[in-house]
């Protein structure tokens, strides 16, 4: 009886493993929710400025439009990510290959990492979730330096900040990262109390429920 049960358990385990391994393979691929997909081979050209934008990884977006010599990527996703944000980017007399981006719709922070070829000008708007003009001290434009150190460029050392939070970079080639740290208070002030403090409310509730369950168990054990 015991040997039979053991065999049944093993058979069930093997079956479960086979199902788990085969299941993803037999499921058909799904349509991407976004309507524009791209690969590293895709070039978003800007003929008027002799520039182009590309991505170093596969990705998609709900739309990719060229407006005023600037490519606007809405609901951008990279490598099956969640929606990362809306990116507006342009390049003049240069090419820009983007390999990392986060516009961050939850906070007003954002970052972009790219490789620039050609001595030209690039404009980047990370699609920050803020309408207020940011200060240059909130931005980090970095390039690799000698010995593997990171070089932080101060404003006007190859970049400037426009009032609409667009960063204009001139004369920088190679790897570059553009990062915005937000020190503004995240906009939870308009939320109701229970939403603005949902996490601690949930934690207190979980703790209270745990204690309640324990007390019930103790009472039952005593009985």
């Amino acid at each position: 009886m015991r040997a039979t049960n053991g065999k049944a358990v093993l058979t069930g385990l093997v079956a479960a493993i086979i199902v788990a391994l085969v299941f993803p393979l037999v499921c058909s691929g799904t349509m991407a929710e976004s309507s524009t997909t791209f690969t590293p081979a895709t070039k978003f050209g800007i003929p008027q400025l002799n520039g182009s934008i590309s991505f170093a990884v596969n990705g998609s977006c709900s739309s990719a439009t060229l407006e005023n010599d600037t490519w606007i990527f809405r609901d951008l996703r990279l490598m099956n990510s969640v929606t990362l944000g809306n990116l507006e980017v342009s390049a003049e007399n240069s090419t820009m290959a983007i390999y990392s981006y986060r516009g961050n719709s939850i906070t007003a922070g954002g970052t972009l990492r790219c490789m620039v070829q050609g001595q030209g000008t690039q404009t980047v708007n990370l699609g920050l979730n803020t309408t207020r003009p940011t200060h240059a001290s909130e931005w980090y434009i970095t390039i690799p330096g000698p010995g593997g150190h990171t070089v932080f460029l101060a404003e006007h050392e190859g970049w400037t900040l426009l009032p609409d939070n667009t960063v204009v970079v001139t004369g920088i080639t190679g790897n570059m990262s553009i990062t915005h740290y937000s020190f503004a208070v995240p906009n939870n002030n308009n939320l109701p109390f229970y939403q603005a403090h949902s996490v601690i409310i949930a934690v207190v509730a979980v703790l209270a429920i745990t204690v309640a369950i324990v007390l019930v168990i103790r009472a039952k054990v005593r009985v």
């Binding site: 099956n80 969640v82 990392s100 740290y181 403090h197 996490v199 703790l207």
Partner: protein, 416 residues
């Protein structure tokens, strides 16, 4: 369902499946009754390390060209942090294990780091290292304590025995020692007791230090110079750039994490220093030397004394506070229980205990969980008297001692 084709989700589901299958196989197939629980515990420890640091493989810190970059964005970004806990609590779920936040992609995070960081330098929202907080330090500390107390009530110090990655490191060192056929050393009971009490002193000291560093932010008074928060990260002077989270400067887990990450190419080696730019560079290396020296010392001590760090770990002390002492002891769900009528006082339980706990030997019966006990169940596993010791959860027996001497004898007679 796009998640089906998402490699990160596939990896997580595969991981869960492998862990479940592994547990079942060990329980069903393990023959040695004196090693079954230990084998299971080793497996769960290994699985926990993979789970805790899953963000290392499929996390937000992957860069193009690194080994795991093609796996994309981690499920953490969908569930925890920005997507789920939002900017109220983006640093991951607090658990009472040494799990440094930066390698694991903030899925679960060491509660000690969070307690320190939310006192200083993140008392006032919204500052953070590339994260924004919409909650004050007090609220964030409340969340950490709530999660820690809940975890302690549910599982007690079994986090230390079964899940903590540094516990696995020490157990690996124990196996290294055993393979060299060297006997472990033991402390006297007086010394061991003092070590256990030092945990509470350690955590108190570092929390007080954090409050001192945060004095300007919290009280508006600069108790020691250089603690005013300055401009953006990298431009601040003084203490805030060098000595925030003071316990992390002496915790052995931090350099271990960084060394492993650097070794597999997932972190820039500059992060070995506490600060990677500006005038603090030298200070950072000096602090790092202390960090590395402590890791070396703990490694040697853990080779000689089983689970040495666990005897002084402040995080273990914090967990013990909320599971082994009144009133939490009364409501803790995971306990070690003893049946005094079945115990013959053979003493084998206290001989095998890695932390030299003695309550299961000295106490008469009932709940014998003590603050030094990390609920590893080794005593239960080795006790040769049926039901003398058992580990219970919510009053139900999870594992109990077996009369393995008689069972082994019966098995060998049957084979003959």
């Amino acid at each position: 369902m796009s998640w089906i084709n998402d490699p990160a989700t596939t990896i997580v589901l595969g991981y869960v499946l492998i862990v479940a299958v592994g547990i079942i196989l060990i329980l069903k197939l393990s023959k040695d009754k004196t090693r079954k629980i230990s084998t299971l515990r080793l497996f769960i420890q290994g699985a926990a390390v993979v789970g805790v640091f899953m963000g290392l493989i499929i996390g937000p810190f992957n860069k193009p060209g690194t080994l795991f970059y093609p796996l994309g964005i981690s499920p953490r970004d969908r569930l925890v942090g920005a997507g789920f806990l939002g900017n109220q609590f983006p640093d991951g779920i607090s658990l009472p294990i040494l799990a440094c936040y930066y390698p694991n992609g903030r899925t679960v995070t060491c509660a000690i780091w969070q307690l320190q960081a939310y006192i200083f330098p993140f008392w006032n929202y919204p500052r953070g290292y590339n994260v924004n907080y919409s909650t004050s330090g007090l609220e964030k500390i409340g969340i950490v304590m709530g999660l820690t107390v809940t975890a302690a009530i549910i599982l007690g110090r079994s986090f230390c025995g079964w899940i903590c990655p540094f516990g696995l490191y020490q157990d690996a060192l124990t196996r290294v020692r055993k393979s060299a056929r060297l006997r472990h050393l033991s402390f006297s009971q007086k010394t061991n007791t003092a070590l256990g009490q030092s945990r509470y002193i350690i955590i108190a000291v570092f929390m007080i230090l954090s409050v001192i560093f945060a004095s300007y932010t919290i009280f508006g008074a600069e108790i020691i110079p250089g603690i005013k928060l300055g401009g953006p990260e990298g431009t601040e002077a003084g203490i805030v750039s060098n000595i925030n989270e003071p316990f992390c400067l002496v915790c052995p887990m931090r350099p271990l994490c960084i060394i492993i990450e650097v070794a597999i190419g997932q972190m820039n080696w500059h992060y070995i220093s506490q600060i990677v730019y500006g005038p603090g560079w030298t200070t950072g290396f000096y602090l790092t030397s202390i960090n590395l020296a402590i890791l070396a010392a703990i490694t040697i001590l853990a080779l000689a004394y089983r689970r040495f760090w666990c005897r002084i770990c402040p995080l273990g002390g914090l967990t013990a506070l909320f599971s082994s002492f009144t009133p939490f002891k009364q409501i803790a769900l995971t306990k070690l229980q003893k049946d005094e009528y079945k115990c013959t006082k053979c003493g084998v339980c206290k001989r095998v205990c890695p932390t030299q706990a003695t309550a299961m030997y000295e106490k008469k019966g009932g709940d014998v969980t003590e603050s030094r006990c990390m609920l590893c169940a080794r005593c239960v596993e080795i006790c040769p008297y049926e039901g003398a010791l058992k580990m219970t959860f919510a009053g139900k027996t999870v594992v109990k001692s077996r009369n393995w001497l008689q069972e082994n004898k019966a098995d060998s007679q049957q084979n003959d």
